[in-house]
Amino acid sequence: MSFLRIHAQPGRTTSWILSWFLFAAGITAYFYVSAQRHRDNPDDRVMPTIVQMVQGFQEAALKPAEEEEIQDGAAVQGWPARVRSSMLWKDTTATSRRFLISVALLFPAVLLGLHMAMFPYVGAFFIRFFQFFDKIVALSLLPIIFIAFGIDELSKIMLIVIGVTPTIILDTFNLSKSVPREQIVKAFTLGAGDFAITYRIIFKQIFPRVLNSIRLNLKAVMLFLFAGEMIASTDGLAYRIALLRRHMGMDTIIPYVLWVALLLFLVDLGMNLLNRKLHPWFQEI
């Protein structure tokens, strides 16, 4: 049992195999059970086969959305045009737009957390409020948000803002507070003023960690966005998943879920690469 020891050192190939094992096991188990179910019932819709899922995804990605067909009447020519008029494209752009607006709105939260940490009066004014606010389950506010802001875009973005910004504010606050006091004293002795220290010393030092914090909260952003889209929307990835659920369209739901995971993974990867490029001095992964 030497492989279960703390000092065990798996080789490169072993590590590679181990890291992919659960993926392979999950996929194998799925298709095994799916094949069994289809042998018992060829019309089974709960666990579609790979062929059904590829067909479902192709239809979503290459066929025009229903509303597009009704409006244009004629079929769209050329695959780039077909992709742009497809259901998947429309849903992805709708969700991405909301997602990007929400992420952009997190940056004022970062600045607020920074100022709370650096200026004691600002901190005293806000900290207790956000500590309490952070404990409110944003989804429980959903009815209030829909009543207050209506069921259009604003309510979905507000849901994300209410759900994620207190966490980002408190996280930035803690990150700023964790910068050693010596750095602030040193900067004062070098002639820097309050705002130079806040932005040129503290903000620059915590920014890579703030980006990491936002990366870790991307899933929460998506969670609130999906909740909003599922309840009150006419487009978006979550709206489509909720709609397809009614028709048991698992052949499209599963590719949609994987598509969302892939998009989030790519955003996460992009932010990580950007973080490393912008902050070569930053050691954390």
Binding site: V185, F188, T189, L190, A192, K204, F282
Partner: protein
């Protein structure tokens, strides 16, 4: 420029459930301009607290601290500061760390596209490189980040960063404590050389008696006041060592023994009267 006066200073902190705890008790010191003063004492005796008082980072519970005749409310460019750790900004290269003070003091936030600012930055960089060489580093180190440097190199950069503004006072808080003996010895010689050249008043806090004795033109021991307030420290001015790194080993050992015996708890009646200037143990 660079004189420090600590007048009857006491510092107390609230301790949860146990009232106030006095750290420093009626400290009275005068540090003349251009001196190199070592402050030595056991861990927890209040050496760093005394340094923070001089910096203006902390206010005394009683008494006052004057730097160049003024009471300082917060740290400023009148005092350079080299702590044991975290002295460099990790997000800036060596050269940017060194010239940070020049940039901050120039107070300009105009764009780098501004020709006047570009010219000024070029001057700052030239000055920064001069200081880099001065502390024994090479031009190739200028573009490195602090994490790419050894502990000794980091402290060299920190000293250059502090001295580039030519502060009248330089405060060093256990600045060489984390270094290996070889590097430490090199740094001690460097700081002594820089002090001779610059004439800056240096207050050097250390728990290493040998370092205190070899570096300081004056050694002040903070000793726990055995008969006074429990746990509080008093300052014993031990005068001028007149010794250097090249002094005989026997002389050094003798001096170190005397300083160490002064820095252990002393009864109240052994302390010099508050108004009288204490006699040097070396006279």
């Amino acid at each position: 420029m660079g004189s420090i006066r600590v007048q009857h200073v006491s510092v107390e902190y609230p301790v949860e459930g146990r009232g106030m705890r006095r750290i420093l008790n009626n400290i009275d010191l005068e540090i003349e301009s251009g001196a190199f003063v070592s402050i030595v004492g056991q861990t927890g005796c209040g050496k760093s607290t005394l340094l923070r008082l001089i910096l203006g980072e902390e206010s005394p519970s009683a008494g006052q601290v004057l730097v160049d005749g003024k009471e300082r409310q917060q740290p400023g460019p009148y005092c350079g500061y080299v702590p044991q750790k975290y002295s460099l900004f990790p997000d800036k290269t060596v050269i940017d760390n060194i010239i940070f003070g020049l940039e901050a003091s120039s107070g300009s936030s105009s764009s780098l596209l501004n020709p006047a600012r570009r010219k000024r930055m070029r001057t700052f960089r030239e000055e920064g490189l001069r200081y880099l060489h001065h502390v024994g580093l090479h031009e190739a180190d200028a573009r490195k980040y602090p994490h790419q440097l050894s502990g000794g190199m980091q402290q060299r950069v920190a000293i250059a960063q502090a001295l580039i503004l030519k502060p009248p006072v330089l405060l060093m808080d256990e600045a060489f404590s984390a270094l290996d003996p070889g590097t430490r010895s090199g740094m001690q010689r460097l700081i002594k050389k820089l002090w001779r050249e610059s004439g800056t008043t240096i207050v050097f806090v250390t728990h290493n008696t040998r370092e205190a004795v070899c570096l300081g033109t004056r050694v002040i021991a903070l000793a726990k006041d055995a008969s006074g307030e429990r746990g509080s420290s008093v300052a014993l001015d031990l005068g001028v060592p007149h010794l250097d790194f090249d002094s005989g080993e026997e002389d050094l050992r003798c001096l170190i023994r005397e300083v160490e015996s002064a820095a252990v708890p002393v009864p109240q009646d052994a302390l010099p009267p508050p108004e009288a200037k204490p006699a040097s143990v070396y006279n």
